[in-house]
């Protein structure tokens, strides 16, 4: 807690400066609302319960997108690492699919899947797929050659080598990929809602923009940031648990 004190003090100082600037500088609240009014708006959204359906929707999209993207990414990474022929065949296509700006696929996904949750989940999953695939592939290919020879010497088959050597060795790298994916999942879910959402934090931002309610937009920023930090910390916790199990340092 003591270690976090300076960064908390900095936050208070920044907020105080912002508040003073808004009050004394005569800035229009439409351009930059004062922190006090943002907090009041946020509290209003929480107290009336208007916030919850939006928060639930975005969190669900994020979790589903992250879950699907991570599992498929992990599986593809393993497949490409284990079968170099498949890797040579598919790698350019996988790369191309990731270089297409995925958010630009939003309108197409609305035609395919309709409005609602599905297009946003698909976009989020597509975004989360890549860091997991790339890190799994890298982690598995970097397994030390003499340890692989050891497993050959011990007569371990392909599956045993994967499960008992390659995946545990690659775990720290895979978990780093998962952390990156969490951050990207939030971007995917919020921006996905910009395009096709009716409910959700991203959709609420668009709604607030249409009535020029910048105070509400700022309040939603706070909620989105808090959601992201919460999920990031949750993944850190899981990561520490698993890594601790696998490698006491």
């Amino acid at each position: 807690m003591i270690a976090r004190l300076p960064s908390l003090l900095l936050l208070v100082a920044l907020l105080a400066g912002w508040e003073a600037w808004c009050r004394l500088g005569g800035l229009s609240p439409l351009v930059l609302p004062a922190p006090s009014s943002v907090l009041a708006t946020l509290w209003g959204e929480i107290a009336t319960g208007r916030l919850w359906p939006h928060l639930t929707m975005t969190a669900t999209e994020m979790a589903l997108g992250l879950g699907i993207g991570a599992v498929v990414g992990l599986g593809t990474g393993v497949l490409l690492a284990e079968f170099p022929a498949v890797s040579r065949l598919l790698r350019p296509y996988v790369l191309a699919s990731q270089l297409v700006p995925k958010l630009a696929l939003g309108p197409l996904f609305i035609i395919w899947f309709g409005f609602g949750m599905t297009p946003t989940v698909v976009i989020t999953a597509l975004i989360c797929f890549f860091p997991l695939m790339e890190n799994t592939l890298t982690g598995i290919s970097e397994v030390d050659a003499s340890r692989r020879e050891l497993f050959r010497m011990l007569g371990a088959g392909r599956l045993k080598t994967l499960l008992r050597l390659k995946l545990p060795s690659a775990l720290p790298v895979i978990m780093a990929g998962l952390r990156v994916a969490v951050v990207l999942a939030l971007v995917g879910a919020v921006v996905g809602e910009f395009i096709g959402g009716r409910i959700g934090l991203g959709a609420s931002i668009i709604a607030a923009q249409s009535v020029m309610d910048s105070s509400l937009i700022f309040a939603l920023f706070i909620v989105i940031t808090a959601l992201g930090m919460l999920l990031y910390e949750a993944v850190r916790l899981i990561e520490r648990r698993i890594l601790h199990r696998f490698s006491k340092g």
């Binding site: 340890r147 050891l150 050959r152 010497m153 011990l154 045993k160 545990p168 696998f246």
Partner: protein, 263 residues
């Protein structure tokens, strides 16, 4: 133990050659070698002379481009289940305890039984790590990690132990302790061993026979006529020093000979 007559070979290497690719240089060049059961042979040579490649051929990790390798009566067609291999680095799995690392060869095949665990603990005790069975590799010193690696190679009572400069990274005193441990463990079950090293003293201390390698060939062979069991004082005996001197001369001679223009 050290009769001059060649006994029937347990490990037989017959005109084995190895090239990484058909047009490439010959790393191991038509080597004939025989190790009688229960003997310890050392391959001595500078880096890049092909000694590690020859060891991997004997393990079945590499297949000879020409020639054949037999262990007992079987021709080798892949990694031999009868051989234990100790690598240059300890190659322990960081996420397993010392005990589980020793049990790895067993646990890859089946669930280890109480008897397996007792055997592993017994081996750990023999290499002086009885109190460290539950430690992870990161909590062990380099010497202790090497001891775990040796114990792991011995868990199934292999007929043949193959070692690739396993103690090269250790300090001189730890290295001598490990050499004594290794000799004791090999004597216990009459294990045959092929030991690769670039350290002349290590080769003489461990071996019944030392082969000097250069440019993929065996250039010099020397029987070591020191009594067994060997102990520390022998390192300063005239016979030991003379053997070291002769091997050093052989290595220098080999180096000059191999400095001929490359093919």
């Amino acid at each position: 133990m050290s009769t001059e007559q060649p006994k029937s070979g347990f490990v037989t290497i017959e005109r084995a050659s190895y090239r990484y690719d058909a047009a490439g240089p010959t790393v191991v060049d038509a080597i004939d070698w025989t190790i009688p059961r229960g003997e310890i042979h050392c391959l001595l040579g500078r880096s890049g002379c092909g000694k590690t490649t020859l060891l991997k051929l004997a393990a079945g990790l590499l297949m000879p481009s020409e020639g054949a390798i037999r262990i007992g009566d079987e021709a080798l067609a892949g990694p031999s289940p009868r051989a234990g291999f100790v690598f240059q680095a300890p190659t322990l799995l960081d996420w397993l305890s010392a005990l589980d690392n020793v049990l790895l060869p067993v646990s890859l095949k089946r669930r280890p039984t109480i008897a397996d665990k007792d055997a592993a603990l017994d081996l750990l005790e023999r290499v002086g790590l009885a109190d460290f069975a539950m430690r992870r590799p990161a909590e062990l010193s380099g010497g202790q990690q090497s001891r775990v690696a040796v114990a792991r190679a011995l868990i199934g009572n292999p007929d043949l132990l193959l070692l690739d400069e396993p103690f090269a990274a250790l300090d001189a005193l730890t290295r001598e302790e490990l050499q004594d441990d290794l000799l004791r463990l090999c004597a216990l079950n009459g294990t045959t061993a092929l030991f690769v090293t670039h350290d002349i003293g290590e080769a003489v201390y461990l071996a019944d026979t030392v082969a000097v390698m250069a440019a993929g060939r065996v250039t010099h062979v020397r029987r070591i006529e020191l009594a067994r069991p060997r102990h520390r004082d022998m390192r300063y005996a005239p016979g030991f020093i003379a053997a070291c001197r002769a091997l050093r001369d052989a290595m220098d001679g080999a180096a000059t000979a191999s400095r001929r223009p490359a093919a």
